[in-house]
Amino acid sequence: MTSSDRSPSPRADVVVIGAGVMGLAIAYNLAARGCKRIVVLDQHYLAWGASGRNGGGVRQQWSTEMNVRLMQESMEICAHFAEEMGINVWMRRGGYLFLARTDAAATRLARNVALQNRCDLPTRMISPAEAQALVPELETAPFVGACYNATDGIVFPWPFLWGYARAAQKRGVIIRTGTAVTAIDRRGDDFQIATAAGTLTAGRVICAAGAWSPRIARLCGGTLPDRPVRHEILSTEPLKPFLKPMVSVIETGLYVSQSLRGELVGGVSLPEEPNPDGEVRLGSRLAFLTTMARGLTEIMPRLAQVKVVRQWAGPYDVSPDGDPIVGELPGVPGFYVVCGFGGHGFMMAPVVARHYAAYLCGEAPHPFFEAWRADRFAAGGTPSPHREEMTIG
């Protein structure tokens, strides 16, 4: 979207690599705080990465207090996003319904619901029959329990990117799409960032390259332990509104919601493929289509008639313990990372970016900087104290 932004800008205070939701939201928050000379680079176009390929689920049901509270704050930002940024994000708060097939999973859900209630979230455990009252098409037989929070919901991801990009540009941020970063060199305290369209100098670099972050880190001699995992998703023909909540099955990682356009959008976990080279693979597979079709028609047999119109894939960016990785990369001062968000980085970006910008501006870091620090994976590092277990996929 930035053909008009090709003017050379030899020195930037901050260069953000990656114009996904993380990079754009951080650039916007920095600019809103008055920071100047910010450049965002992306090898492709807005919404090409995971931020343009995800399911748009936004929920507050998590298993750690920090994540519950972060997502409560993020939901607030999402709820006001359209008004503040002047763009419709098609947000629909129909709730999130988690279904458990086994007693073990139901017990975990109950424990998480108790935690969520302590955080003033109105989640409740419900029976399969009550779940069916919420979703009449639901088959109850496979399930032993469920939980439901009415204040969770879904958004349409793309307008978030356009909204953040436009608001950032209004505040002076330069966004260059079609501009891949090919090398990063240290010059004294500065970074020299080589792209196909010329070289930039920057005081600080924010690597917001999602599943591509380990490659970017390697360009400046750093290492990151996250790995890309292909995750596939499909969308159906549009239907009359019938499905209120996002529905997700704990054991299989299946999830499905109905967008405001009427389409069903959903995915399911497949066994992780061997990927020793850490390649980001974006091809679509028939195995996904059949697994998803079986899963969906098992829990909602009436959907057998519904037609799939499109399937695609995107990368989950997965850290060794499933929690994100943020902050300055050990050994590379001035190089900041924000990756490893797996299947929930979209919903977290609004709140993470807000606190990330505050941290970069010298304010006291939000506690997630401690919990998600990069050196927890190093030899002798302290593991994340409360590992999140409510991840999908």
């Binding site: 176009y45 807005l46 356009r261 079986r294 037609k307």
Partner: protein, 90 residues
Amino acid sequence: MSRKVILCRCEDVTLADVQRAVKLGYADLEEVKRYTGFGTGPCQGKECLREVACAVAQASGRDPATLAPFTSRPPLSPTALGVLAGPARK
């Protein structure tokens, strides 16, 4: 031309919508697809890709030959979940 010229019939995307997207700087078919929603309905662009490409070329002054089509996604035509799921396994 009238604003009512519809280029993508599945998603009701008009010529004016496409021109507006180009004006905002979305000059590739992938970007225009995302911004307007064209080609995301049941026909998946089979009917409208050409028309939208011509409109984008005209509005942006680009040579149509430089406009790559967007990635086409499986399935080739809309397919019922029941067919993909195969026979019930009970």
